[in-house]
């Protein structure tokens, strides 16, 4: 008979609850993940109808240190990731707040929310490529007919401009889910706290700052962490829109890993880049989780 204490009983149930998920993850991902770590310490070649792998210790990683394109990709990636997380979370929060306002509760808005996210990334990238086209893109047409520009602009020609548009498109695509997540979080903020803050003289901004933000801490933490993971994995739009160009201005680490692995077939080196992405994501995520952790219950003696 199960005769254990309250907490122990819950712990045991907890292990049972976690088990299926753990098994699925282990069964599917354990080998590929371990293998990718191993690959990163190997030099891999396609020879004689097969593959040879040769341990080369940390040669791949050492080579990374001297690889200028890689260095550039790291810088780009960091900028992109910080920019994206900041933009997506703040726009997502703004959208969530709008949709949580009584005026924004119309179901139509929630449907609109899903729209940018529902489109397949491949199609999305091509769509934007056409929108941004310097010769027949609708964005140029629109801006010109509004008198905002005189000549059609080559949006993707200048490094920063191309970079900015990639960021914008990815933000556009990422906002819906984060907004949805934050909206679900907003629903949990007790109304009574707003009443109290209102009585305490807090304006809208202050209520937001002192009630909404702190009570949404966990939802925000999840949003930031997930968006960080995703922003470090951006791929499709670069592949379709710029191929990392012009002149490697928009090469992000994941795209570089792809290029090295699949175009150059330098699989070990590609795995090394991927593992750096992993390490970077891990560090960033841990940092964010730590930063966003709610304050420990403080008990004075």
């Amino acid at each position: 008979m199960s005769s254990t204490s309250f907490e122990r009983r819950r712990r045991r149930a907890g292990l049972l609850f976690v088990a299926p998920a753990a098994i699925v993850l282990l069964a599917i991902l354990a080998y590929p993940i371990v293998e990718s770590f191993i690959l990163s310490t190997q030099s891999v070649r396609l020879v004689a109808g097969g593959v040879t792998k040769e341990w080369n210790s940390f040669a791949n990683y050492i080579r990374l240190a001297g690889d200028e394109t890689f260095r550039r990709a790291v810088v780009n990636t960091m900028i992109f990731s910080f920019g994206e997380v900041a933009l997506v979370v703040s726009i997502g929060l703004a959208v969530a707040l709008l949709l949580n306002h009584p005026l924004g509760r119309w179901g139509f808005f929630r449907i609109m929310l899903v729209v940018p996210w529902a489109i397949a990334p491949v199609a999305n990238a091509v769509l934007w490529k056409w929108i941004l086209n310097s010769n027949y893109g609708i964005l140029n047409g629109l801006l010109k007919s509004l008198g905002l520009i005189e000549y059609y602009q080559v949006w993707l020609a200048r490094p920063w401009s191309a970079f900015g548009f990639l960021l914008l498109i990815d933000v556009w695509k990422s906002v819906p889910f984060i907004a949805l997540l934050l909206l679900a979080g907003l629903q949990r903020v007790p109304q009574s706290l707003y009443k109290a803050a209102y009585m305490d003289g807090a304006g809208r901004w202050q209520a937001f700052r002192h009630v909404t933000l702190p009570t949404m801490r966990s939802a925000l933490a999840i949003a930031v962490v997930l968006q960080t993971i995703w922003s470090l994995r951006v791929f499709e739009i670069i592949f379709v829109l710029t191929r990392g160009g012009p002149a490697d201005a928009t090469v992000l680490m994941n795209f570089l890993a792809y290029r090295v692995t699949f175009n150059f077939l330098d699989i070990g080196y590609g795995a090394a880049i991927a593992n750096i992405i992993f390490a970077l994501t891990f560090l960033l995520a841990i940092t964010y989780v730590w930063l966003m952790q709610p304050r420990k219950r403080r008990i004075s003696s």
Binding site: A21, V24, L98, V114, P121, K195
Partner: protein, 282 residues
Amino acid sequence: MSFASARSRDRGFRVLVVVGLILFVVWSAAPILWLIVSSLMQQQALIVQPPDFSLGNFTLENFTEVIVSAAALGRGILNSFIVALFSTAVALVIGAPAAYALARLAVPRANALAFLVLATQMLPGIAIAIPLFLVISRLGLIDNVLALGLVYLSFNLPIVIWILRGFFLAIPEGIEKAAAVDGAGVVGTFLHIVLPISIPPLGAAAVFAFVEAWNEFFFALILTRQDAQTVPLVIAQFAGQYQTLFGQMMAAAAISIAPVIALAIIFRNQIVRGFADGMMKG
């Protein structure tokens, strides 16, 4: 709700909200509107400056072309449906209990474990593509819809667990205790109390898992041949080396969004439903 109305007396703010909502709709919808417009136009009208919107250039041909000639689209939608439903359903069914356990059930080192779960998603897919292909092909499961679904499951599960865990952490302990005294075991509490009050995050997680599986491209590309092709692959087929059939591609994309939008319409109220008031009063 009535408090909100008392508070939103302030006209200026309402105007701000309305402007915000309009901007939001424009921001969300404008590119998609262009997608739909361009799917209804002949390419020659789109490549001129500015686009030629004269009536004669509008046509349903892209759609008929996509539906009739690319029969792959129908199969792609079906496959995507199977894959997405399968991976979403399983992700929720096994992810929600795991999230609950990691949030509430005193699992040892729950925080570290939760982070480890998430860490499986930190390695870019490109890095595991080749070993994963190897495993799946050894098992003879290349071009198998369910194998693809399982792979997506392994991608969605950690995210689902994370989303739900964050929300489960915020459930007031009191009602779990009440349920324990009322005779619900851990499972009963989870099923009857925790899940029903977590509909908004469950909705968010489900929509997430579904859309991700619906739209995933890279693994679909390498793990399928013809039979298990999903919608994104079909859409990608319109972009060739020398020529992109832009109109048809957009028509296919428009068709592929439809089921997701339909789901959003059906579940629009479930996606975000709040018990905030009742939750915190208690």
